[in-house]
Symmetry: C2
Subunit: 408 residues, 2 copies
Amino acid sequence: MRQSQLFTRTVKELPKDETSYNAQTLIRAGFIDKVAAGVYSYLPLGKRVLDKICRVIREEMDVIGGQEILMTSLIPKEYLEATDRWENFDVLFRLKGGDNKEYALGATHEEIVTPLAKKFILSYKDLPFSVYQIQTKFRNEKRAKAGLMRGREFLMKDMYSFHTDQADLDAYYDRAVGAYNKIFQRLGLGEITYFTYAAGGTFSKYSHEFQTISDAGEDLIYVCNHCHIAINKEIIAEQSACPQCGNKELAEKKAIEVGNIFKLGTKFSGSFNVVYKDDEGHDNQAVMGCYGIGPSRVMGTIVETFHDDKGLIWPENIAPYKIHLLSLGENEAAASVYADLIAAGFEVLFDDREISAGEKFADADLIGCPYRVLVSKKTLVAASVEIKRRSDDTSSLVAIKDLMAYWK
Amino acid sequence: MRQSQLFTRTVKELPKDETSYNAQTLIRAGFIDKVAAGVYSYLPLGKRVLDKICRVIREEMDVIGGQEILMTSLIPKEYLEATDRWENFDVLFRLKGGDNKEYALGATHEEIVTPLAKKFILSYKDLPFSVYQIQTKFRNEKRAKAGLMRGREFLMKDMYSFHTDQADLDAYYDRAVGAYNKIFQRLGLGEITYFTYAAGGTFSKYSHEFQTISDAGEDLIYVCNHCHIAINKEIIAEQSACPQCGNKELAEKKAIEVGNIFKLGTKFSGSFNVVYKDDEGHDNQAVMGCYGIGPSRVMGTIVETFHDDKGLIWPENIAPYKIHLLSLGENEAAASVYADLIAAGFEVLFDDREISAGEKFADADLIGCPYRVLVSKKTLVAASVEIKRRSDDTSSLVAIKDLMAYWK
């Protein structure tokens, strides 16, 4: 992409009420735009990052057999009354249609997926299966102040699994944990993200969160460094030692909840009477699990994690572009390098604008692509470009003829 | 995909109030599920078709320089008051947040994109550009009865372009027409889709629709067969001859509006005061165009267009799977064919279920993948499979060793 064509640019003026680092910086760098508190548009650079995060999540859900669907955002009132959530779910946006029909906007989709699954579950042969979607969710938060962390409108991957019994759910749940660990590793958050024990419900002692250590976090967790697991503050009174090794020396950390998985048991299959015939012809209730992860919140978490005082530092596989090519008054030579890189399949943002070198350097640091490739009179004297990793302080000259080999 | 793993199946019971052919058939074939009138979930097969339609549209928007973004569904009241549409846009869903802030759900996005563009438009050097999104839209239709044609919640690609003047808009508008024609050709609708003159507004004599001839259509158009263009009924009184060749012998046809493009002029840039400095330093208002196409409505249109009394007949490039592989009691041999096809990069739905041959044939016809490949005792005697195109009545035996070459 030629930066002269990109309709956005880095901006200096920020919305006055924006206090979170992640939203401030993403707005400054031209990745997002604020429409209202907790309500952001994704601009071309931001959309690319979001798409890449979604792709990683989608691939790992597909690995564990998730079938992708797209449910509705409009949820009729009667579905939420069946589970007593129409009145009791405090973050619902409620609205009325022209036919006087009442809806809520989807904040979570158990009430849609369970009746849907019911239509296709007759016998034990129809189980197990899992379905997921990546969809805009709506939550009528009283205060939305943590940027992409706690939005009123945000992207969510929610998966739901259906099983004959608890043992089958347990086995799938473990596979889902594995898929989640893989996702956070691929997103560069693996080392600082902890499988965390949290409050359960009627049907399970615990739920589990994936918590990423961050000073920007709204949660407090207690980390066991032997097992790389943690306990959420909400249950630390009753569960004060590591549930895996018994370690009582846990370290208190601030963290961001980036994922949440839950054994729902028969809570929702009970409400909607999802029964299957077992191999002896008896009726049994299906057992469910649910598995959430918010791509937009993950994006905010990555921003909170990977940055310096100059701007963003994207992990390579979710950067908007791998290479930020800067021309300092040498657009013709730089365009030739650009064409070669594009032809070789690299993703390149080409700063071909007529602005000062200082502005180009500052923008490259703020936008945070992993590699900055510089073409200037000085580098061309040596038939070279200068390459600097965003995360390094030093740069090196690389001959243009050796450029493609540099990333091999 | 092994069909035994697919969580959906074809169904016989239909929602009682579903009268449209497209929704009835997509529900029967397991592509969509009805949540409320005009509100449908997309199941795995339907999601695949929808994704493929979106990919075609996205590729053609990218060709004409569209930059993909994702705007918000929640539109604060004040944005819509700025254009007098809060009160006057009758299909808006309106709702209130916990902070007492009022929003509409996005039915169209001029009120979001225009203030967004304004932030990045300073001088003529920042123009032209165009941005688009593919997003769920909401319209509070009084009656939603045509299945995917007129939904309360539906997918939309909306593009908006910004220009220095009318001539630049006119030139881009023509490129957009070309991109739209390409899209409908690629979707198999090219021949029966007409560039149609429709009512304009304050800033343009006409808007233009893309209308696909169909008995299921809600519109009436008047077709000039010399020019492959049409005139919408709403303007036929004032424009009774072909605007291109003057032909007065126009044929009345029922049609579905699959796309709509509009020269907005300064209607919205005026409301939000989007001005740029020209090369002499004078302030001018930016000129806008907008370009819509509904992927879910296109999906419904394709269903209305390509079917027979047995079910769906998908055009090859948007079929959920290219090949429907049926095993008649020969799962081992069929699994080997399946593995070979997958390894060669084909998209295959493999019916490995333990049901009757009759049910498999009926399902294959209903689901409508372009090629049915049959593995049975009889075909295996000849070391072959039987291939039948969904659109043909005759089948042919193809040796398994020659199978890959069949599609070359």
